[in-house]
Symmetry: C2
Subunit: 273 residues, 2 copies
């Protein structure tokens, strides 16, 4: 694939920074950048000052990257239709939640192909080098108008990717939220429970993180379906009932609900495989 | 502390093997061993054949280790009281669920001190070298009759340990089950959800495990209270409601319940710190 290695960017948050580091390290240059936060925009322009395209005709920008909050899409798309200077042949957003199809007003306005590239990874800091590393570890879900263009582009950027049906993104992203966020909810519940045994937040992390690591290692080595140790896999239902009773009687209502729901769910899953 | 480096063991499961490897590598020898499974017992005796005490008087055994299933304790304790040949000055069980106090009939029968040593780690295979490594990574919760003896012993065995009030073990162990088991419940729920996006079990592991790793890394580096990225920390409640609706309408009842319970729990926790 031959193309101008030039991109434009809207949204200078964590993903915008990380992706800019990745692309500029591959020799891409930045044509245009914008952000609703003047402060963030200036910080980005300063950091990437040596990476802007020296001179260019706007029509040669290969793609526009949209890396903004999920709840800002409708407003941005409405505004962009009135700004032909942002026109590019390919528009990519990096939201896991939104479908590529959300960009369809721009397909009409700009005659662009529209795409969604989503990295399945958690990036919590605006550190471009760290961010780039995480983006390289991630699998990227691609959906949108032009599958072969998307796959070639992801490959040119050195990314692991797979095609996802655009209309299935709801389940894809719900699964990502469960995987990345809800396990933290469980650990917060476990932390609250441990505090009743006199274990502080600091001690919870110190004492229980090696346990978390061992469980994640088991998943890597033996697979998710064989990683379970402890009372559920031993079918020690008496123990489970006693611990649920202890949580309920101590007034740990939410923690009881987690324990009850998820232990029953695992028992049910075990009976199926 | 001077003592005979000799132990006896009841229970030749994963923890019994791992602890035997750890102790025999430190020059301890095995006086007696027993298991309700003849098959497991023979495998253990064969593997550790060079580690048995050549000749001994039973009274010199430093301690008896009880590494059995939580639901076998009452029967074992009843039986042991009739077997004075197992008498030792110190008895240790490795259950996370049971209190040291469960051994009190043996304190009376044998005049022994009774203790609980629990490693906060998941060991899912009977591989003594792997098991030993995990036991060394774990923090061990100690409770029972003689705190200074327990701490000296854990230290002599090269283990990280802390004292836990014996009567708080319910909350301690419930927290361990949540930490080690319920996160797997969440991941199984995420896997079921991803399957509706056409992502197979194998692909779920491939695509989502780097995400899990990134989240666990964030916890290690930034702490549990600062590891959250994504829609919950952005307070994008509209997104959360839309995904819950998608789960509900697809008939993913349990997955909906997890998503609902834990996202609300995290929102509530965030408002507090």
């Amino acid at each position: 694939m031959t193309m101008n290695k030039r991109f434009s960017l809207i949204g200078t948050g964590r993903i915008g920074w990380a992706l800019s580091r990745l692309l500029t390290d591959l020799g891409w240059t930045i044509d245009r950048v914008d952000d609703i936060s003047e402060y963030q925009l200036k910080a980005y322009q300063k950091h990437f000052s040596s990476c802007f395209t020296p001179k260019h005709a706007p029509s040669q920008t290969a793609c526009l990257l949209i890396c903004i909050r999920d709840d800002s899409f409708h407003e941005l798309i409405r505004d962009l239709q009135k700004k032909p200077e942002w026109n590019t042949p390919h528009i990519i957003h990096t939201s896991g939640f939104h479908k590529a199809e959300i960009l369809s007003p721009l397909r009409t306005a700009f005659q662009s192909e529209i795409h969604s590239f989503h990295p399945m990874i958690s990036v919590i800091e605006t550190n471009p080098d760290q961010g780039k590393k995480l983006l390289k570890k991630a699998w990227w879900a691609l959906s949108g108008d032009n599958p072969s263009w998307m796959q070639n582009m992801a490959s040119a950027w050195g990314l692991q990717s797979f095609l996802l049906p655009d209309d299935k993104k709801d389940f894809y992203h719900a699964s990502a939220v469960m995987t990345a966020n809800l396990i933290i909810g469980i650990l917060r519940g476990a932390e609250a429970t441990a505090s009743l045994a006199g274990i502080s937040t600091e001690d919870y992390e110190k004492i229980f993180l090696p346990l978390v690591d061992s469980v994640i290692d088991h998943i890597h080595q033996s697979g998710l379906h064989k990683a379970l140790g402890g009372p559920i896999v031993r079918k020690d239902y008496n123990l489970l009932e006693r611990e649920k009773t202890a949580l309920k009687e101590a007034g740990l209502t939410d923690e009881y609900a987690m324990y009850d729901l998820l232990s029953r769910y695992l028992i049910q899953k075990m009976s199926k495989n």
